[in-house]
């Protein structure tokens, strides 16, 4: 699975674009399995880098969503409330929240597509 190079990635398997759009990776949806529930914060919520800001549930498990960087939520993908399976079908095309990034410098610490792909293959090697 190619990881788009127009965004950055976290070791917790989230992606974020330069304009602050956040989702989870193909790898994340694959390991979760059938996603049935996505719980997201309301517009205006402050989220903090590394802290949980929502949850994704599959049939078998609950996972926290971790903020790649800090910021304020400016948009929430409401379609995921009724069609969470979209994330399984197209994880990199199914955004979850948009945020106004607080400090662009925090973006620099995130993984590139190539680094993330390497991280995923190393994780799988365990």
């Amino acid at each position: 699975m190619p990881y788009p190079t127009d965004r950055k990635y976290t070791k917790e398997h989230e992606w974020i674009t330069a304009d602050g759009t956040i989702g989870i990776t193909h790898q994340a949806q694959d390991s979760l399995g059938d996603i049935v529930f996505v719980e997201l914060p309301k517009v205006g919520t402050e989220i903090t880098m590394g802290k949980a800001f929502g949850t994704v549930e599959s049939v078998k498990a609950v996972s926290d969503l971790y903020a790649p960087v800090s910021g304020t939520v400016t948009g929430v993908n409401e379609t995921l409330a009724t069609a969470p399976e979209q994330v399984n079908k197209d994880a990199h095309g199914s955004w979850m929240v948009k945020i106004k990034v607080k400090d662009q410098a925090e973006m620099n610490a995130l993984l590139s597509a190539a680094d993330y792909e390497k991280f995923v293959s190393e994780e799988a090697g365990h």
Binding site: S31, G33, D34, V36, F37, V59, K60, V62
Partner: protein, 382 residues
């Protein structure tokens, strides 16, 4: 001081390499390296696998289940002594759901008792309790003239489950499977292997068979693939433990360590109809008599989430005022029913169908309702 930790031994069934080859997601299940689900690329995933079993057929490797054989002149007496159902009612070739109990009336394990012959019984037991069960059975049957054997590693056990299960297996066997009733057994040739034990049993709340073949890898893999191939026309898919769990939950079939355990008794678990108090004495009976007289303090109920949210194992159940009254033993989205369901222990006073309760989900109180169980009952064949 240094602590030397025992290296955990990962156990594998004879089909382990097959699961990996098929791209299954593997998990540690009670020390067993087992498939939880197969990949979406071959039409699988928990939901797809679950639906295949409800509407067509799904194939499971359940070789991690254990098998104990009791044989000898006093085999029946021994089985009667260690299990709660009445094995004297079994005809040769018949099976029953039962349980092994501690003297306190709580569960060592739940089992399927198969009567294989005049003085021969096979107990099919859970993977995680194999050694405990075998020791328990051996230690508690020493006084009887019967041989107790642990045959768990001798068989690859494959479950062929779903309304089309019988059709799939029939293509591969010379036995007349239509004549085999639910919870009865037969023997016949399967995929060229003679004298294979086939039981019309399962853990999916669906029709189907479980077959027991020799546990060598080559034979196991060949039979696995032949069953999948024979099932192709019925949409057969391989199924993992994920679907096995959601299927059994919809059917309210208990899972050891969740609905039943060494701290829960038969009455609490609602398994009264499998416990025959009128049969000769058995381990746990006296305690159960006392427990019945005293009345139960908690009882197993089915919950359906009313508000958005999924109850998971261990979550607290609250009354409408927010007071803790019980706990969830198993909870999940139900793929066929398309509802979020759970099993939970609550006091009898709050167990009536229609009672509104709440489940604490990550700090939030989410409304749920006590509903009739089983959540799912397979349609009767016309």
């Amino acid at each position: 001081m240094s602590v030397v930790e025992a290296t955990p031994i990962v156990r594998k069934t004879a089909l382990n390499a097959v699961h990996r080859q098929m791209g299954a997601k593997m998990v540690d299940f009670n020390g067993w390296d087992m498939p939880v689900e197969y990949p979406a690329s071959i039409g699988c995933g928990i939901v797809a696998e679950h639906m295949a079993v409800r509407t067509g057929v799904g194939i499971f490797d359940v070789s991690h289940m254990g098998d104990i054989r009791l044989a000898g002149p006093e085999a029946l007496t021994a089985v009667q002594h260690i299990s709660m159902n009445d094995a004297s009612r079994l005809a040769i070739g018949q099976a029953q759901y039962s349980a092994l109990l501690f003297p306190q009336g709580t569960f060592v394990d739940d089992v399927i008792v198969h009567r294989l012959g005049e003085d021969q019984y096979l107990l099919v037991i859970n993977a995680g309790t194999r050694e405990k069960d075998f020791s328990w059975v051996r230690d508690n049957t020493r006084q009887f003239d019967c041989k107790v054997e642990h045959l768990s590693d001798d068989f690859t056990q494959i479950a062929i489950q779903g309304p089309k299960g019988v059709d799939v297996l029939q293509k591969l066997s010379d036995a007349d499977l239509s004549a085999v009733k639910f919870y009865w057994l037969t023997r016949g040739t399967v995929c060229g292997i003679k004298n294979v034990l086939m039981g019309r049993t399962g853990y999916t709340a669906e029709d189907g068979f479980e077959i027991y073949i020799p546990a060598d890898e080559t034979t196991s893999a060949r039979v696995w693939y032949e069953i999948l191939e024979a099932g192709k026309e019925f949409g057969a898919v391989p199924c993992g433990l994920g679907a096995r769990n959601t299927l059994r939950l919809e059917g309210k079939l208990p899972l050891y360590g969740h609905e039943i355990s060494d701290t829960i008794n038969v009455w609490e678990a609602g398994l009264d109809r499998f416990c025959k108090m009128e049969k000769p004495d058995f381990i746990g009976r006296a305690a159960l008599e006392k427990a019945k007289a005293e009345g139960v303090k908690k009882t197993l109920v089915g919950l359906e989430m009313v508000d958005r949210g999924i109850a998971r194992d261990g979550y607290k159940v609250l009354d409408q005022a927010g007071r803790e009254i019980g706990y969830v033993t198993s909870g999940s989205p139900a793929p066929f029913l398309k509802k979020n369901i759970a099993l939970a222990y609550v006091p009898p006073a709050q167990a009536a169908v229609g009672t509104t309760v709440k489940v604490e989900i990550r700090g939030q109180e989410v409304k749920a309702q006590v509903v009739p169980t089983p959540f799912y009952k397979r349609p009767k064949k016309t």
